[in-house]
Symmetry: C2
Subunit: 343 residues, 2 copies
């Protein structure tokens, strides 16, 4: 039986195309909203927070603006006032229903920020709370593990970065759906890695820079759908201590774009992992990362700034296949529902 | 044989006292440096990054300023220029030798930020790169897992927050060393939890708000010294998916202050964990958290804003004892050296 998660993974090219086609014409609205701001503050949780990590790196690496992650509990638990004059607060929530995020975006507005929402929920409370909404066009998502809502969030964040003046080519963004479609038309064989991951209790998932967002997201997917002890870490943080955890029972999954300034470090990490007697699985990174890893899956043929949208796709396929191998229904992991309320 | 890690855990009251006595008289210097700034950007890695999380929550919850975490790769890998006018950049490194942090603090200065260092390394490159240095007085630390350098960083961050005008009582900070000394004079019996953790491959470590920093730090300690698959998560993020990972083989350690707005959620999390058939271990949180957990360790008798300095102490003792139980020398985990270089 085909899972809904697998069906929704396959819907990503169409969802991405609809999202990009609908949002790219709105660059002027983004620019107008941001005109009196100097920096971005993301407000999100869970998978949406991993998307925000992508937005943060993209805007800082290519947009010349500070872009960092906020802590919702400052608003909802501590009820503190913080000076947010000159800040563009960007709230992300797939459903647009998460009260914590809606409340924190309202708090940001009250603290002086301009507000923008990225959500798949048209007319949702989050969309209503924001001055401007970039709606993702993912359609209904039924499987609990988010797939198409995550990748369309990344596409919306790419539009946001361009709207903020980043030196990025919208034409490259328009090409993404076809690249993802090509990846899915000839999906990589995940079974050799699935067979190995089915035998271990935990895994490190690592990357750096823009690709770090995809590593964090894959770690969440493996925890929620496969109950694997997946530890998502920047490889710089990994080397500051947690690398000790890697051993014959604890492999590492390493994600990298085919180009960019963090590829060399990703290859070095793979060599260090295998040198420690552990297994390293590569996703993307071209032939040099593949050569340094025990097993690998090809990544997308995309420039580094867009690679995370494609790097998560083999990870989604891996998660879905591993869940089934472990006897778990990937569509409804234990203890979870589709909309999570935290306050 | 007594490990150096255990010796250094015991040195924390004296190290904290020396640090607080030396830094509290310097509030005016902090205020003067920060006078033309409106927000804080932390630059750190590993354990120092966990300390920065404490600083970020403390300054936002009590100081009215935005305080977020920077991404060093924006400086060192992407070599992007970001507008940091009005930003106080705070670099944290125990040794002050980590080139990545030194370089990123220099980048922040070049981007328009004022710069402050928090380090245990007098005369170190990081201290030289900053306009003002708050030196921690931890003395030489020999064990690879940082203990007293971490807690003295938290104390320095408390001084920073007060210097920035937070509504916090320096007298409460001065009382911290005695509270930690009292905890260590009658250390909690960690053996029942050690016996259980020795049998599982992984653990979730969770908290929220100010205590989240201590949870992240305990997760790093358990990974580096015990090779445990320790997943540090805000309980709000945990409920957005990763909670599925908790089961009979995957307990949760939950940290909380005895008061404050995140205590109730911590107790609810403990009930949810035990309700799922998993074991929950509490650190701190008073009698109500203890009652909701399977086993627990008492926390410090400190106000919420200072509790993280004391909450990590039972975690350090737990880590050290678990490492020895597992046949690992806690002073020198595999594959690690005391100063980590990342670039």
């Amino acid at each position: 039986m085909t899972s809904m998660m697998r069906v929704e993974i396959g819907q990503q090219p169409a969802a991405l195309r609809a999202t990009i086609d609908s949002l790219l014409p709105r660059l002027d609205e983004v620019a107008a909203l941001a005109a009196q701001t100097r920096q971005v503050l993301f407000i999100a949780r869970g998978t949406s927070d991993n998307a925000a990590v992508y937005g943060s790196y993209l805007i800082q690496a290519h947009g010349g603006r500070l872009a960092t992650l906020g802590a919702p509990s400052i608003a909802t638990a501590y009820r503190s006032r913080v000076d947010l004059d000159g800040v563009l607060a960007v709230g992300l929530s797939q459903s647009g229903q998460t009260e914590e995020i809606v409340e924190t975006l309202g708090w940001a507005r009250d603290c002086g920020a301009r507000t923008l929402a990225i959500t798949n929920g048209a007319g949702s409370p989050l969309a209503q709370a924001a001055e401007l909404t970039l709606l993702t066009e993912a359609g209904t998502e039924q499987a609990v593990p988010a797939t198409k809502t995550f990748t369309t969030q990344l596409a919306a964040l790419a539009v946001l970065a361009i709207g903020l003046g980043a030196d990025l080519d919208p034409g490259e963004l328009r090409a993404v759906p076809d690249v993802i479609a090509a990846m899915l038309a000839q999906p990589a064989d995940v079974e050799p890695i699935v067979a190995e991951l089915a035998k271990v209790p935990g895994v490190v998932v690592s990357a750096r820079g823009l690709a770090y967002s995809a590593a964090l997201e894959l770690a969440v997917k493996l925890k929620e759908a496969c109950y694997l002890h997946a530890m998502g870490l920047s490889y710089a943080d990994l080397l500051h201590g947690p690398i000790a955890v890697v051993d014959a029972e604890t492999p590492a999954i390493i994600l990298a774009a085919e180009s960019g300034p963090t590829l060399a470090g990703s290859i070095e990490l793979a060599a260090r992992v295998t040198g420690a007697g552990a297994r390293a699985y590569g996703i993307g990174g071209g032939p040099r990362l593949a050569a340094a890893c025990s097993l690998s899956l090809p990544g997308p043929a995309l420039p580094e700034w867009l690679a995370p949208i494609g790097l998560i796709v083999p990870g989604q396929l891996l998660t879905e296949a591993l869940a089934r191998r472990l006897g778990i229904n990937p569509d409804s992991p234990r203890g979870l529902s589709k909309v999570t309320q935290t306050d």
